[in-house]
């Protein structure tokens, strides 16, 4: 971890480049910048741990952050992968409580870190800022909902099918590509699977001609088949 000392004008530059802060009052931008700093994290370096007080807002400037729940047997459950322009740990921050999960840098990353006091003070008077935080939280809820949805189904095949189906582009024709955002092992934990099972399921689906796998690139060939997997296991039975 490495705090990067930057002039206020430099911080302001960074803030201005982020969509997150587009269109905010200059008064807000100034005050946020005054309570902000940038930090660099190496791969695998922890940002915060579950249970620590949440007194700063974290926004990803570059790299990728993994948010996860530590599990009993040194395992972990990936809750979210945060990329450039997104924030994380917002719920805890807003409530002024302890962090609910751990966060580590998945790659070498730069974070913009803003003081909670400055943020809360401005959120009380600048509705646009409050709205941005609502946006962030709403997307988090949406993401967690999908997460729950795709890690709940019984069979591993259904979970993988669900995962791939959720990632189909809006204009999806018969086939489309999905690029895994990280290692297969971590994607597997997001689905509550082991990397082994994940691998086996992918191979099976590939053999069935449903998908093609080239490293982290997965080409879905038959969307209908995915939907079939999601609703099937019951198609066999007449009611």
């Amino acid at each position: 971890m490495n705090a990067i000392p930057l002039t206020h004008t430099r911080i302001s530059e960074i803030i201005n480049r982020l969509d997150y802060f587009h269109g905010l009052e200059t008064e807000t931008l100034d005050q946020l910048a005054a309570g902000a700093r940038q930090m660099a994290f190496r791969r695998d370096e922890p940002i915060f741990h579950k249970g620590m007080p949440a007194d700063t807002l974290h926004i990803v400037v570059s790299g990728q952050i993994k948010v996860f729940l530590p599990q009993p047997n040194t395992g972990e459950k990936v809750v979210a992968l945060v990329e450039r322009g997104e924030s994380f740990g917002v719920a805890s921050l807003w409530l002024g409580e302890a962090h609910l999960a751990d966060a580590v840098a998945n790659k070498d990353s730069h974070l913009l870190i803003i003081d909670r006091q400055a943020l809360m003070r401005r959120a009380r008077v600048d509705c646009v800022l409050a709205g941005r935080l609502m946006d962030a939280l709403s997307h988090r809820v949406k993401d967690m909902m999908r997460n729950l949805e795709s890690c709940t189904p019984k069979s591993a095949q259904q979970r993988v099918a669900c995962y791939l189906w959720q990632r189909r582009p809006a204009d999806a024709g018969h086939h489309y590509d999905v690029l895994l955002p990280t290692t297969k092992r971590e994607v597997a934990t997001k689905l509550n699977l082991t990397q082994e099972t994940f691998s086996r399921v992918l191979r099976q689906m590939a053999e069935d001609g449903c998908i093609e796998v080239k490293g982290r690139l997965i080409r879905v060939l038959a969307v209908a088949r995915l939907e079939g997997l999601n609703s099937a296991t019951r198609a066999l039975q007449p009611e």
Copy 2:
């Protein structure tokens, strides 16, 4: 479902009685009331379905609402149980997108329903209102995080232990009581378990002298034993 025609003053009364709207500008209260109505739902009556447009804010005035993800095999995954004074479906509402889950009345219930336009219009100028929505969403995220945490562990025992441990009161001594908010079957689905497995685990833990079960009331006798069962749900200590 039954729309209850009420005078504006009656609606205002209801709004004033809810903590949700405490301390808001009168201008906000008036406009929200103007776009509000109350509705009654019988037990098992659907409020909305996944995929429907989210164009109203729902707040529970009385009763209990179950928010769940429909599953392939006529199963369901309970995401949240919403009680008096709480709202649901806020994330979809804020984003102006489709609902992410289904909602049904778990008991006979009354809901306060507020028009999205009125809400968004006021949230743009009344930061306190925006703050309330942030509160609601933050608690939802917190709740979903706990949900994820308690339905992720491998063993059924760990999940149940985690669930009970999360519900320990702040001032917990050696023992405390947990009252299940609904049927054991639904609590089980929240933990991604069948009611049968849930039942078996409870019996096992009771035999071990770890808990006592009397219907939906569970008395935890040995908190330490719970922590032993899932040692990693606690905050991590630095190495």
